[in-house]
């Protein structure tokens, strides 16, 4: 089959690799019909995630048709149309029983690697480094899905691939980021980053009752989409002093909750960027946390900072003094996608949200390399690339 393989920094290739086979009794094989490139795939593409090997199959946002199931998978049958969640979860451990699926204690066969860097291991993730499992990903024609009796959700034929594909990751991720904000009547939420997750965080904050959402980015087209499609007020951080303007917009209080939908490769104007970028290149720190620092400073006393952006290792100059003295709450985590798929599918069916508004590029799987480059450089106002198989 054809599969998108990581071949080194800023180098992916669609190559011929063997078809996947059932390896365990709870596996299923899915023939992929649609898959997407995630913003977090760009961290792999840019070489910021350790334990990648040349030839790794990428991709963790995918859906398709079940072609084969292992003997212990009783809820799926050949021909079922499913969306596959990116965290691999067993459904039986203490964490899964608490619906903290991305913290599954059993799904990472390389847990010892993650323990070295993180202390304990989170779940395994499709196509996202050996430290997080070493699983072949879904930017391919077929994928093996472990614990298929827990993860994949069947979707009705009345909905198109594009309407349901983002249930695999970014729609639940934006939603969980907003849910972490514990939004109360009158709350103002600020969102750093107007990429796909930021857009869904904005839309979700409104679904959960936010009075007003303020979105922060530097790309005019992304701010325009946040304004026109997700309903946010927008700030371009290259044009205004974000902290001052946020104070002004909230009567001096600061936003009740702040969402970091940027993560470890943030940007900022001026020499601070060069300084942190250099430290990152030398691996003295793995993240450039400009957005996170600003979100912490901006947040009102006693407010919540919700971190949806991906961080890999260590960051410097974390303003813990602000967090502690002003009683902020930080909530974060890889998304417990399995928990959100069904309620969000219902919201799509009822028309509460149409996730297709973020799609700007549709390509064939064979053109994945071009897709990565376009998404990275944000050429042609790229916001989301969907690959069709």
């Amino acid at each position: 089959m054809k599969a998108t393989c990581w071949m080194g920094k800023k180098h992916v290739e669609v190559r011929d690799v063997p078809d996947p086979a059932i390896l365990n009794a709870r596996d299923a094989i899915v023939r992929i019909t649609s898959t997407a490139i995630c913003g977090s795939d760009l961290h792999l593409y840019n070489g910021f995630v350790p334990t990648m090997e040349k030839g790794d199959v990428l991709g963790h946002e995918f859906m398709g048709e079940v072609t084969e199931v292992g003997p212990e998978v009783r809820n799926l049958r050949r021909g079922d149309r499913v969306v596959v969640p990116f965290p691999i979860a067993c459904g039986r451990c203490n964490m899964c029983e608490r619906e903290l699926y991305s913290l599954c204690e059993n799904s990472n066969p390389n847990a010892w690697m993650a323990e070295k860097l993180l202390g304990h291991s989170p779940c395994g993730i499709f196509g996202y480094s050996h430290m997080l499992g070493g699983y072949a990903g879904g930017q391919a024609e077929y994928a093996r899905v472990p614990f298929a009796d827990v993860g994949p959700i069947k979707v009705p034929d009345s909905l198109s691939d594009e309407q349901v594909l983002f249930l695999s990751d970014i729609l639940p991720t934006g939603y969980m980021a907003a849910e972490h904000c514990d939004i109360q009547p009158g709350d103002i939420v600020a969102v750093w980053g107007c990429g796909p997750v930021g857009q869904f965080a904005i839309a979700s904050a409104y679904m959960l009752g936010a009075e007003r959402v303020i979105a922060i980015d530097r790309f005019p087209y992304r701010l325009r989409i946040a304004r026109e499609r997700a309903g946010a007020d927008t700030l371009n951080y290259e044009e205004v002093d974000v902290l001052e303007v946020l104070k002004e917009m909230t009567g001096g209080r600061g936003p009740d909750a702040c969402i970091d939908a940027v993560g470890m490769e943030a940007h900022t104007p001026g020499p601070a960027y060069a300084y942190e970028r250099a430290k990152q290149a030398m691996m003295i720190e793995t993240g450039r946390p400009f957005a996170l620092r600003q979100a912490i400073y901006a947040c009102r006393n006693g407010g919540t900072v919700s971190v949806a952006g991906v961080y890999g290792g260590f960051i410097d100059k974390f303003p813990m003094g602000a967090v502690m003295n002003r009683g902020l709450t930080i909530k974060t985590g890889q998304t417990h996608v399995q928990r959100y798929m069904r309620p969000l599918l219902e919201r799509i069916e009822s028309g509460d949200i149409d996730p297709t508004f973020i799609i700007t590029h549709r390509m064939r799987l064979e053109d994945a390399a071009e897709g990565y480059q376009t998404f990275l450089t944000k050429e042609d106002e790229c916001l989301k690339v969907v690959l069709k198989c």
Binding site: N110, H130, A136
Partner: protein, 306 residues
């Protein structure tokens, strides 16, 4: 987390020096992999640069680990394992045409020298562990896991010794001879096979199993596993403790480690597999976990489904 304590003894100082050496080398490998590659005489291409960066990250982690830990034995053995990888890498580079053999030989000698220091330091730190009643050179491994199943189920599965090879990687078979005696067969480091008889020395249903190897064992050892209910209905805590004397004494152990068979890690992995089997009914595997440096892509000859 234990507070950092400076040890005044020589092993502590040797360990600290090796820790700083790790950090320095790690930073150099990360910041200037090209320069290090040329210095070591290996080809300065993207692959080697990436490998050197990875080595650098590993050195940094080992260095920080050694300096930050009160008793850095584990991290010291991490250094030994890392040295083994470096030696393997330099050895494979020696076969490359474009490599400068003299420089590689020098670099290999340097790494081998540091390896020797690491082994000495690791051994001494290991020996400083209080081991009342243990013979000199014995290795003690203690580790634990929580399994989301009732104590009775977890105990019963383990007590059925024929089940053990299902989650113990190196164990090939266990044959029960009598109520107290059993015959064990395992694959050992460097492709050797070992067999021994063991007897149960203490047993309390749903609580504890303790055993020891009998006279014929190549690897003389004793072990105990305890089972207790975890608080708040979290299942069962399983604690395993093993003491053993490796073949050919401490030298054999060092060799075993150089082959990448660090026993503490192996016991931890086996216990994790036990948990996986008890909770999910299978030991999850990924395409990339089936071999060292195996890319995460489907295999052309997958193992038979389990």
């Amino acid at each position: 987390m234990q507070p950092h304590q400076t040890t005044a003894d020589g092993d502590g100082r040797l360990g600290t020096a090796l820790g700083w050496f790790s950090i320095g080398l790690g930073l150099a490998e990360l910041a200037a992999p090209g320069g290090i590659a040329r210095l070591a005489g290996i080809e300065d291409d993207d692959r080697n640069r990436n490998i050197l960066r990875a080595f650098g990250a590993r050195e940094l982690a080992a260095g920080v680990g050694i300096l930050a830990r009160e008793r850095p034995t584990g991290w010291m053995w991490g250094r030994v394992a890392g040295d083994a990888v470096d030696l393997t890498f330099l050895g494979s580079s020696l076969r490359g045409d474009e490599a400068s053999r003299g420089r590689i030989a020098a670099a290999t000698a340097a790494v081998a020298g540091v390896t020797a220091l690491d082994v000495i330091c690791g051994r001494r730190l290991l020996h400083t562990k209080p081991e009342p009643g243990a013979r000199s050179g014995a290795v003690r491994v203690a580790t634990s896991v929580t399994i989301n199943r009732p104590v009775g189920d977890v105990y019963a599965f383990w007590r059925e010794f024929e089940n053990l090879p299902r989650f113990m990687h190196h164990l090939e078979s266990v044959d029960v001879i009598s109520s107290r005696r059993s015959h064990w067969k395992a694959s050992a480091p460097a492709g050797m096979a070992v067999e021994w008889d063991a007897e149960i020395v203490d047993e309390r249903p749903n609580e504890l199993i303790a055993w020891r190897s009998l006279q014929n064992a190549t690897v003389s050892h004793e072990g105990r596993v305890t089972f207790q209910a975890a608080p708040g209905h979290r299942g069962t805590e399983v604690h395993v403790e093993l003491r053993y004397n490796p073949p050919a004494g401490a030298a054999g152990r060092a060799i075993a480690w150089l082959f990448g068979e660090e026993p503490g890690q192996q016991v931890r992995d086996d216990l994790r597999h036990f948990k996986q089997l008890m909770e999910t009914g299978e030991v999850p595997i990924s395409e990339g976990s089936l071999g060292l440096r195996q890319p995460a892509q489907p295999l052309s000859h997958p193992p038979a489904a389990r």
